[in-house]
C-alpha cells in the first residue's frame, strides 16, 4: 500500500515537472527565450495601436496576431516542413504555409486596388502624373541614405537589396514594399512591412507640417479649374494602354502593374462587375488576413530586435518626408510653369497612400480657404503615385533581383 502511494506521488511529481518544463512558460527562461517575451510585448503594443488608436487596423490586427502566435514558444505556427526521405519529421506550421505564398499576395492585392481605383482624375489632367513621379524621390533618397548608413556601420550588414527595400517604404505603398522585400531582403519583411504600414497610417501627421513649411499661404489658396469629364472609352483604354506600355519598358513591373491594371479593367469595362466586386472585396480581405498573419509571423526576435530595425524605422520616415517634400516642390514648379493654375499642395498626394494622402491635401487646402476643393485634383497625383512607386520597385528589381 505504501509502495503504491509512493510510486503514485513520485510519478505525479515527475509528470508535473515534465508538464512545467515542456510548457511555453519554461521556454522563456531557456536560452534566448526571453527574446520571444519581448516580441510578444511588441505584438501587444501593435495590437493596442491597431485597436486603441485605429492605425490601419485591417492590417495591423492580423500582423500583430501573426507576431503573437509565432512567438508563443512551441506553438509551431512558423515551423518549416522537415523531411527525411519520405518521412515527415516536422509538420509545416499554418502560418509558414501562408508565408510560403507571400510572393503572390502583393499582386492579388494590387488587383483589388485596381478594382477600387478611379483613374478618371488622372486621365482628365495628365500633367498631374508628373507629381506622382516627383513624390518618388524619397525612395531613392532613403536608398542612398541606407547605403551610407551601411557603410558607416558595417555591423548593419546592409545589402543593396535591403537598401532598396527600405527606400520603397517612401513610396507609401504597402503591397509594393512587401513585393520588393520578399524578392530582395526576405529576412526583413516584418520590420519593413510594419514600418511601411505604420507610416502610411501616420500620413495625416507626417505630411501637413512639411506641406505648410514649403508653401506660402497664397499658394495654398489657389483654386484649380474643374476637371473635364472623362468618357468610359478612355477609362477602358487606360488600363490596357498603360499595362502594355509600362511592362514593355520595365518587364519587372508586370506582377504589380499588370494586376493593378487588370483589376481596373474589371471595374471600368462594366461587363465584369462580379469579378471586380470579388477582387476588391472578398478576395482582398482573404489575402489581407493571410498576408498580414504571415508577415507578422515572420517577425522573429533574431531579425526584428536588431539594430537594423531601428535603421529601417528611421530611414522609412525620412523616405516618407522626402517624398512629400519632392511632390510639393515639384508642385511649386508646376505652379510657376502654369502661372498659378496648380495648387502645390496636391503634389504631396503623389506619395501613394490612396486615398489618405489626397484627403490630407484637401484638408490642408481647406484650412486656408474652406471653399477650396482639392480632393479630386489630388486624386490624380495620388493614383499616379501608385504607378510611380511600382515603377521604382521595378527598377530596383531589375538591378538587384
Amino acid at each position: 500500500m505504501n509502495l503504491i502511494a509512493m510510486n503514485f506521488l513520485s510519478d505525479l511529481g515527475d509528470m508535473l515537472v515534465k508538464f512545467g518544463v515542456e510548457s511555453g512558460f519554461a521556454q522563456f527562461f531557456n536560452g534566448v527565450g526571453w527574446k520571444n517575451l519581448i516580441m510578444i510585448g511588441v505584438a501587444l503594443v501593435c495590437l493596442y495601436l491597431a485597436i486603441g488608436k485605429q492605425y490601419e487596423p485591417l492590417l495591423l490586427v492580423p500582423i500583430s496576431i501573426g507576431m503573437l502566435l509565432s512567438n508563443l514558444p512551441l506553438s509551431g505556427m512558423m515551423n518549416e516542413l522537415v523531411k527525411e526521405g519520405d518521412t515527415v519529421i516536422q509538420e509545416e506550421g499554418l502560418l509558414h504555409v501562408f508565408y510560403s505564398l507571400k510572393g503572390i499576395f502583393p499582386s492579388l492585392i494590387f488587383m483589388g486596388v485596381g478594382a477600387m481605383t478611379d483613374f478618371g482624375p488622372l486621365i482628365a489632367n495628365p500633367k498631374s502624373i508628373l507629381l506622382g513621379a516627383a513624390a518618388q524621390m524619397g525612395i531613392f533618397f532613403a536608398f542612398l541614405g541606407a547605403i551610407v548608413l551601411g557603410l558607416a556601420f558595417p555591423s548593419m550588414n546592409m545589402t543593396y537589396g535591403l537598401a532598396a527595400s527600405i527606400g520603397i517604404i517612401g513610396g507609401a505603398d504597402g503591397p509594393t514594399a512587401i513585393l520588393t522585400t520578399t524578392k530582395l531582403a526576405t529576412d526583413y519583411l516584418a520590420p519593413i512591412a510594419v514600418a511601411a504600414y505604420s507610416y502610411m497610417a501616420l500620413v495625416p501627421v507626417i505630411q501637413p507640417p512639411i506641406m505648410k513649411a514649403l508653401t506660402t499661404k497664397e499658394e495654398r489658396c489657389i483654386k484649380m479649374e474643374q476637371l473635364r469629364p472623362v468618357s468610359q472609352r478612355e477609362k477602358i483604354l487606360f488600363p490596357i494602354v498603360v499595362s502594355i506600355l509600362v511592362i514593355l519598358i520595365l518587364p519587372d513591373t508586370a506582377p504589380l502593374i499588370g494586376m493593378l491594371m487588370f483589376g481596373n479593367l474589371l471595374k471600368e469595362c462594366l461587363v465584369t462587375k462580379q469579378l471586380a466586386e470579388t477582387a476588391s472585396n472578398a478576395l482582398m480581405y482573404i489575402i489581407t488576413i493571410m498576408l498580414g498573419t504571415a508577415v507578422g509571423a515572420s517577425a522573429q526576435a533574431e531579425t526584428f530586435l536588431t539594430f537594423q530595425t531601428l535603421g529601417i524605422l528611421l530611414l522609412g520616415v525620412v523616405a516618407f518626408m522626402v517624398s512629400t517634400a519632392g511632390g510639393v516642390l515639384f508642385g511649386k514648379i508646376m505652379c510657376k510653369a502654369t502661372h498659378g493654375k496648380v495648387n502645390p499642395l496636391i503634389g504631396a498626394a503623389g506619395v501613394s497612400a490612396v486615398p489618405m494622402a489626397a484627403r490630407v491635401a484637401q484638408k490642408v487646402g481647406s484650412q486656408e480657404d474652406p471653399t477650396n476643393f482639392l480632393l479630386m485634383h489630388a486624386m490624380g497625383p495620388n493614383v499616379a503615385g501608385v504607378i510611380g512607386s511600382a515603377i521604382a520597385a521595378g527598377v530596383f528589381l531589375k538591378f538587384f533581383g
Binding site: 486621365i123 513621379a133 542612398l144 557603410l151 506600355l245 519598358i249 515603377i391
Partner: protein, 130 residues
Amino acid sequence: MMNTVVLEASGRLADRLVTEDGWLGALGQGLGVTVAGLVIVFAALLIIAALISVFARLAEGKQKPLPEIEPAAVPEPAAPVTQVEETVDEEELVAVLTAAVAACMDRPADGLVVRSYRRVGGNGRSWTGR
C-alpha cells in the same frame, strides 16, 4: 546608361567595403541606380501622360456635350426637406454640391446652405464615383 551600373545580386556592402570597390565604389553604384531610377520613373510616367493627352484629344472630337448641372440638384432654400437617400460620405457630397452651386451661380459658397438633395434619374453615374 544602364549598362554602366553592373551589380552583383544582393552583394553585401559591408564586404565590398573592404574589397575591390571601397567606399566610393559602393556610393557611386548607389548614385548610379538612383539617377537611372529617377530617370526611368519620370520617363515612363511622362510617356503615359503624353499618351493620355493623345487619347483625350481623340475623345474630345466625339464627346457629346454633357448636360449642365441638373436643376433639381439645386434646391430652393424654402423647399421642404426631402428624404436623404444615401448616407455614405454625406458631408463630402454636401461640400461638392455647395461648390457646384457656387460655381454655377457665381456666388461665394459661404452664402449657400444645402438643405437637402435628391438624385434625379438613374443613369448609373453615381456622384460618389464607385
